[in-house]
Amino acid sequence: MTTEYSADEIMTISAARMLQNGAVCFVGIGLPSKAANLARLTHAPEIVLIYESGPIGAKPSILPLSIGDGELSVTADTTVSTGEIFTYWLQGGRIDLGFLGAAQIDRFANINTTVIGPYNRPSVRLPGAGGAPEIAGSAGKVLIILRQTIKTFVKQLDFMTSVGHGEGGDYRKRIGLTGEGPVAVISDLGILQPDHFCKELTLTSLHPGVTLDEVRTGTGWDLKVSPDLHTTPAPTADELLVLRELEQRTAQAHGLESR
């Protein structure tokens, strides 16, 4: 196996490292689900994965293509109704960490997954809110994972689907959101974290080989950079092996090309 790795691989691996063993994690489909399961298969075997379709404590051996694949239900500690998931488990305050993707993100880690362009005449109609607004509002903390380009890291969201830190500062507290909000945004270029006070996203880590210029080019606002900027540790051979085996098993099971 080669220890060369792709930008997507270090993104997934860096995100997985942020998940603590034993945390109760509400997982979105796609990149969040991949990173969460990588964490479970490496350093966090006791992590509790909750999917909005109903499975609690899912331990899939392959990645689900959709949020409600049978693999989630048959490997879960229990499967409850979708209503119960949102009411008792999320709104009830039992989620340590919400893990989301996004189509657009702004400097305060607010998220758009609804439309590009005006709402009534969108140039692109995106899928919409799903579970995200309430996950972003009520989960103890939030992690966001997405690829970083000028089109995804934007100055102004076309639509506020899910609130990160709003207008910054103590915005969340002022409007009555119960969770702490986003604590990190993991991209294929680096890691951004909200400033302690003003809550603006600040670049705290560059993935190996990525330059500051590349990150600035992929950011639609004047990016703040931490004075204590780190380089993300390269993926270990073990992390890469587990991730690639997971992807291989998944592709085989779905009868799909590896992606």
């Binding site: 409600g68 049978g70 989630l72 499967t79 209503g83 009411t87 709104q91 309430e134 899910s162 009868g255």
Partner: protein, 286 residues
């Protein structure tokens, strides 16, 4: 009391033009066969309600049965866009589609309120988002005990709920297991209901606390093996992820979509081969 009916009779009798119809099933047990029958019978001006429109509403919207969509997440899960839904919203094809969107948490409260006979559902949600600006039915309400501001959404009361389940008995009692989504709430909230099933058995013998819809709650049971394909029926068949990927290609252009629908939906369904037929339909495209 549930009557055991052929699918086409149930759809003809229970679903009328202009009805609010909720075809539910969260990834699992999506009632594709029933949706196809709605298309085949040329129903019009329906308000389609569903948390995750999925391929079935993409097909129904593209074939022009819907005037309005009430939903919370409209994509092809793990693949990308629903192209027919996008075409309707972005370019009003085949006809303009009114949309009313919530979040998942909002939708489950709307269904639960409908099931509970309450006028509205309540949640800690939508705070700070733009959704209340584009959906005037999302309102703020103050807790009379603590003063906390919460969100209220009107109850969903569909004319008809349509779901797929694993099995029913001869009396029409329905047993569902696995990911059960909001199917129970949808049936309880609706005035009428159609349940398609993989099999009809003499005895269900469910364990206590199993998810059961009693026969006296349901309007019609229709035997429809494979009726959730290309979604899945736990214990019967898996989700056909290849179909979901192929749909991206089939549905991209209006002509390809119409040709596929015409070819695969034009005849009366042979319910015994529902799954085989649709599985074959993607092999020709791939």
């Amino acid at each position: 009391m549930a009557r055991i009916l052929p699918l086409w009779d149930a759809v003809a009798e229970l679903i009328h033009d202009g009805d609010q119809v909720a075809c539910e099933g969260f990834t699992h047990l999506i009632p594709f066969a029933a949706g196809h029958e709605i298309i085949r019978q040329g129903k019009k001006n329906l308000t389609l309600i569903r948390m995750t429109p999925d391929l079935i509403y993409d097909q129904m919207i593209g074939m022009g049965v819907a005037a309005k969509l009430v939903f919370s997440w409209g994509g092809n899960p793990g693949v990308g866009s629903l192209h027919r839904l996008r075409d309707a919203v972005e370019r009003q094809w085949p006809s303009p589609l009114d949309i009313e969107e919530l979040s998942h948490a909002g939708m489950v409260q709307a269904y639960s309120a409908g099931a509970a006979g309450l006028p509205f559902g309540i949640l800690r949600g939508f705070t700070g988002t733009d959704l209340p600006k584009v959906n005037g039915k999302i309102k703020a309400i103050m807790c009379p005990f603590t003063g906390e501001l919460l969100a209220a959404v009107p109850a969903v009361r569909p004319d008809v709920a349509v779901i797929h389940a694993q099995k029913a008995d001869q009396k029409g009692n329905v047993l569902i297991w696995g990911i059960v989504g909001v199917q129970k709430e949808a049936v309880l909230a609706a005035k009428r209901s159609i349940v398609t099933v993989e099999e009809i058995v003499d005895r269900l013998d469910p364990p206590p606390n199993a998810c059961i819809l009693p026969g006296w709650l349901v309007s019609a049971i229709c035997l429809c093996p494979g009726g959730a394909y290309p979604s899945y029926a736990q214990g019967y068949y898996d989700r056909d992820n290849k179909f979901y990927q192929s749909w991206d290609m089939i549905s991209r252009s209006r002509d390809d979509f119409l040709a596929w629908m015409k070819k695969n939906l034009s005849n009366k369904p042979g319910i015994s081969d529902f799954r085989d037929r649709f599985r074959k339909s993607i092999e020709e495209v791939a």
